[in-house]
Amino acid sequence: MSFAANHPASRDQAKMMNRFDITKRLVARLKHDEAVIGGIGYTNFDLWAAGRRPQNFYMLGSMGLAVPIALGVALAQPQRKVIALEGDGSILMQVGSLATVAARRQKNLAIVIMDNGTYQITGGQLTSTELGADIVAMARGAGIAQSAWAADESAFEELIELSLREHGPWLIGCRIDKEKPADTTERDPPRIRDQFMRGLGVKK
């Protein structure tokens, strides 16, 4: 894969970045009302903190379903780019969804994995990524050929630009630190869903 030539071959070689910082960098690059699905816990807390967008969906429970929800939005709205933001613990819980995404060859879908090797919100217990599992390699094995670790912040921005411009599916692995999130998502599911549907133009 030529696009991956300048990206680290494994998780160990990727720079440890900060979740809130790269979430802000991601959101700053969204110019076409792209949909973003924030996985449970600190992943969507930092998405919330990075600035409210009507095209953001913040999960509150149903751990592991950010990728399936994003795939559903992508199927319903093939003209819109859709991004799933998910943690390492969450994607490990629903790793089969990577194979489903690959089998659908979903062009308008990108997956960003925030991997700090821990179940941070429950007290920092280790996930298996800290013990050798490599999400990018697993995604490639599932059939998402365009999967890469972001070497650093500028590489992350390049990969995001690429995923917004070219056909997917994409998976971008981000090794992140264990900083606390910058804010906490307001836990109001009907409001989140209603604003998201208006943001997608489904409700007027």
């Binding site: 429970g61 379903l65 399936p68 199927l75 489903t100 659908r104 599911p189 009907p190 869903r193 997608l200």
Partner: protein, 176 residues
């Protein structure tokens, strides 16, 4: 076919889904569901594909629903038993009209003790979560139940579960 005679259960299900613009069908396969799965794959109106887990299938239909595309999840009873968290933390609180159809194992001639035990969790879960559900036992009630229930699910923004009784489908017959 005689215009007065009802079709097979899966033909009726297909027709009602089409009438209500339910285009997306995600499933974890089941032998009893096979004719319905084959029918939706054969009809270009539907986008149909299998998922690794039932939770995933519910997530996909939830996302599609919010994106403006209606969908239904097909599974068997043991698959439903993996869903309480997804229903309780996604479909119900976010008010998403996820349609689900469950092929009922575990009763009326079940031969696998695991199936008969897990099947007993289904209705208590649905009752605990106050999720609308109907068991279809006769061919002449299939159209009415699904047609009315889809309308209600959309109007009230609530999930709905259709249970296919062996009385309707013939179920899975003890092979040995």
């Amino acid at each position: 076919m005689d215009a007065e005679a009802p079709g097979a259960w899966h033909e009726i299900v297909c027709d009602v889904l089409k009438r209500h613009q339910v285009k997306l069908v995600t499933y974890v396969p089941d032998n009893v569901l096979r004719p319905l799965i084959e029918a939706v794959h054969a009809d270009p109106f539907f986008t149909a594909f299998s998922c690794a887990r039932e939770e995933e299938a519910v997530g996909i239909v939830s996302g599609a629903s919010m994106g403006g595309m209606r969908g239904i999840v097909l599974m068997q009873t043991s698959g439903f038993a993996t869903l309480p968290n997804a229903i309780a933390s996604l479909a119900v609180p976010f008010q998403i009209p996820v349609l689900m159809m469950v092929s009922e194992r575990g009763t009326l001639g079940e031969f696998n003790i695991g199936q008969s035990l897990v099947a007993r969790t289904m209705r208590p879960v649905l009752q605990a979560l106050a999720v609308e559900h109907h068991t279809m036992t006769r061919l002449d009630e299939v159209e009415f139940i699904i047609d009315r229930s889809i309308t209600q699910a959309i109007a009230t923004q609530a999930p709905c579960v259709f249970i296919l009784s062996p009385l309707l489908t013939g179920g899975k017959v003890f092979a040995k």
